[in-house]
């Protein structure tokens, strides 16, 4: 029962974490299940007096790497510094006021609304309508590179907005 509570408390966080690392939904499903089962098997090794999220993400990260190895796909290795920063963001979201994950990241909707229209559009089509970048580029009659750049800029603006609202960790130079 205790473990079920931990699963419930961390389901959305882990799903977001996995979706941040893989665009393959089937892989996200498998990795989610696998991460939780590994965590269950190794629960005795976990210091439950410390936050459970980072430990769970550590397992998930290793499984993601293993998954990419299996797929023989190159995922550029993320440095420890980047992984640490990613973890800080997730921990910051966890500590942000709100009873549920959605409440904690509620500011994301407001940040999306505050984006300039061309950036909001590209985010809307790429993410909320879940279109491949190429399709978004074709629809907007821009080059693939321009589309990627626009998405990148939109994500940076969203990160800045969420940081200002205290959802993301303050970070270093971006503060």
């Amino acid at each position: 029962m205790t473990f079920e509570i931990l699963v419930r408390e961390n389901t959305r966080m882990l799903t977001v974490f996995l979706r941040s690392r893989s665009n393959d939904e089937a892989a996200v499903d498998d990795l989610f299940q696998e991460t939780m089962l590994v965590a269950w098997r190794r629960l005795d090794d976990c210091d439950l007096s410390r936050p459970f999220g980072p430990w769970l993400r550590g397992i998930a990260h290793r499984l993601v790497l293993a998954h990419y190895r299996k797929q023989k796909r190159n995922l550029l290795p993320l440095s420890d510094e980047i992984l640490e920063m990613v973890d800080e963001h997730f921990e910051n979201i966890h500590a942000h006021p709100g009873d549920t994950w959605d409440e904690k990241i509620g500011a994301l909707h407001k940040c999306l609304e505050s984006l300039p229209e061309k950036h909001r559009t590209v985010v809307q089509e790429r993410y909320l309508e879940d279109e491949p970048v190429k399709c978004v580029a074709d629809r907007l009659c821009i080059s693939l590179e321009a589309c990627k750049k626009r998405l990148q800029r939109a994500r940076a603006m969203l990160a800045k907005c969420l940081r200002l609202k205290g959802v993301l960790a303050t970070g270093m130079k971006q503060a």
């Binding site: 473990f3 079920e4 699963v7 419930r8 389901t11 799903t15 977001v16 974490f17 996995l18 979706r19 941040s20 690392r21 893989s22 665009n23 393959d24 939904e25 089937a26 989610f32 299940q33 089962l37 269950w40 190794r42 090794d45 293993a66 190895r69 299996k70 023989k72 995922l75 550029l76 993320l78 440095s79 510094e81 980047i82 920063m85 990613v86 800080e88 963001h89 997730f90 990241i105 985010v123 790429r126 993410y127 909320l128 309508e129 879940d130 491949p132 970048v133 990627k148 750049k149 998405l151 990148q152 994500r155 940076a156 969203l158 990160a159 969420l162 970070g171 270093m172 130079k173 971006q174």
Partner: protein, 337 residues
């Protein structure tokens, strides 16, 4: 979800960060940190947005239920095989608690050390190479859903089978045949052989003999999965190469006066044959494998999903025990293949 969509770490790193990384070695640390921060931001925002677009109603509950269902299935599996190993009255005491009390008493600190796991595995390999006779019982913990009997490739039962092993390449495996009698598969190091015995139907069958030592292994668990079940040396070498091996946290505890080394191997890739998970318990002093559990065997028209191999004896067997002539009448016909 199409896989042609790139995730931001792929997008971002492929576009700019790869170059940044190359350049950053000559730049100051602040630039590198800023670049890292941008990448970290991108990854998290991508995750949040992807989740927003892809999540389905009731997704969380479905995930929780799926995990708990899988856990409950595994919980059901454990008592079954432990129950096979323990006396009935002990089973009644509660298997999980009993396992903890019965098997383990010490915890080694550096359980997750790859180096320690590798060293332990090497020790087991070295020991296995020069070992005398060992007899193992094989039990099927869990089967895949049974196929129609007519589709079943091997009528031999692995559940309850007995495996005799000597050194690196001598073995005899005795399996019951569902319609009566036994199938014996063996190798004396020079010839591999297979025959049926104690079967009125097959009493006139020939004894099949071959100098190809892997000739008759097709009915064995593991061989079809590129993991020669009976050749422990090969199997352990496969573990080194194709599995992530780590020490089990319970390793170092005492079982019936012996300190046990526990290793867990998780298959590195789905492209590799063999079970997904192998657990080995060996005497830390002698390296003798006492228990080996294989979980997640590739499905092959039903068949075992999980197996356990348990050491039941180290009694010395007759010198010619691994030769086919020890197991059939002298006048039985031999067919060389």
């Amino acid at each position: 979800m199409s896989k042609d969509q790139t995730s931001p770490n792929e997008e971002h790193l492929s576009q700019c960060n790869e170059d940044d990384i190359k350049q950053s070695s000559n730049n100051d640390q602040a630039v590198s940190e800023e670049s890292h921060q941008i990448t970290a931001d991108e990854i998290v925002i991508h995750g949040l947005l992807s989740d927003m677009g892809r999540r389905t109603p009731n997704e969380d509950e479905m995930r929780v239920q799926a995990v708990m269902r899988a856990i409950n299935e595994k919980k059901e599996v454990k008592p079954f095989w432990w129950g096979l190993l323990l006396k009935p009255q002990r089973v009644a005491l509660g298997l999980s608690a009993l396992v903890v009390c019965f098997i383990f008493s010490l915890v080694i600190q550096d359980f997750n050390s790859v180096h320690a796991a590798s060293a332990t595995l090497e020790k087991i390999i070295a020991a296995a190479h020069k070992m005398g006779d060992r007899t193992y019982s094989i039990w099927v913990i869990e089967n895949y859903k049974e196929v129609h009997p007519s589709q079943r490739k091997h009528p031999e039962e692995l559940d309850g089978a007995r495996l005799y092993v000597r050194g690196p390449d001598q073995y005899v495996l005795m399996q019951k045949i569902t319609n009566g009698g036994q199938r014996l598969t063996g190798c004396d190091g020079e010839l591999a052989w297979a025959m049926r015995v104690d079967s009125p139907v097959h009493k006139n069958d020939k004894v099949h003999v071959s100098s190809d030592l892997s000739r008759f292994r097709s009915g064995l668990p593991g061989h079809q999965n590129e993991l020669p079940f009976i050749n422990l040396n090969d199997q352990l070498n496969q573990l080194q190469d194709k599995y992530e091996v780590e020490l089990l946290p319970e390793a170092g505890r005492e079982v019936e006066g012996r300190v046990m080394a526990g290793l867990l191997g998780i298959k590195k890739s789905r492209d590799v044959g063999g079970p997904k998970r192998i657990e080995i318990w060996a005497d830390e002093q002698t390296g003798v494998i006492h228990r080996m559990i294989m979980d997640g065997m590739p499905r092959a028209k039903g068949g075992p999903r999980s197996l356990i191999m348990e050491l039941i004896s180290q009694t010395e067997l007759p010198v010619d025990f691994y030769s086919h002539t020890s197991h059939h009448e002298l006048n039985r016909k031999i067919r060389f293949e």
